[in-house]
Amino acid sequence: MTDQALITKFQNGDSKEAAFTQLLKSHQTQVYYQIKKMVLEHADADDIAQAVWIKVWNKLDGFKQESTFSTWLFRIAYNETLNFIAQKKRLTAQHTQRTLDPSIEQPSGHDGLKESTIQIKLERAIAELPEKQRFVFMLRYYDDFDYEKIASITGTTVGGAKANYHQAVKKMTTLLQTS
């Protein structure tokens, strides 16, 4: 069944939970991975993903299908992730400033993995990217979203999304070479 049909089913109130569960199964991994690429920690990604899907449940009745469900879903994920990062930055700023980006954990020893220097460098480089650039880059590079869709998700223009992507590539390349 298509997303559109599942949404109609949900909005009509018949098998609401079944329709929602189907939508969840279709999109949850992609949403989770996108969030995790932004925050790195599993626990944080899990919290944000839960908040995203609860919002979907609460707002889906009012979704007019003017965009695709995927665009709408990623827009929610984008907003929730940015809110989470901003909140975490505020909280972390009250303690220490031991990391380059307080919203992201130190890469070394992350998730019990022994990481290569290049990996650590990359994570530091990613951490230094502005959140919007980071989000745009991940959607384009890993999920191959077109720029129109990325622009709609992040509330920017197609040109703005392209610029964000290329700036992210440039910064990461420079940071990998210099750090």
């Binding site: 290049i118 994570e123 590539v169 990998l176």
Partner: protein, 135 residues
Amino acid sequence: MENESISKELVEALKSFETKTKQVPAGYFDQFELDLMHKIKAQEQAPKRAPIVAVFLDHKQYLVAASLIFAIATGVLFFNKAEKDTAAVVKVEMIEIETLPNELIEAYVNNNELIAEVEWNTAIETEAASLSNNN
């Protein structure tokens, strides 16, 4: 292609970054669905906020504006009414005094003098009685 501009070193790093971000606890996504539906059901069963309160909370600016308008309107009405009432009383009294015949005014004064005299005599008598009792 735009990805051709990405260095080989960066491509390799991004590949291993992706592998790492895809590592999740075993059975995570199935558990996620169960936890989420549990939370949603709990939310659905929780008592909902009163709609009237919700409306006011969602439109605080309207509530503030309405309160201000109400306060101003009440003030204006109150002062207008007070002025009108005072004017009416003064007018009525003036008309009555001017239009009353002298006989009526004299009778009113005489009657009131009588009442005052009676009250005064009663007070004297009461006092005298209490004095004689004491003696």
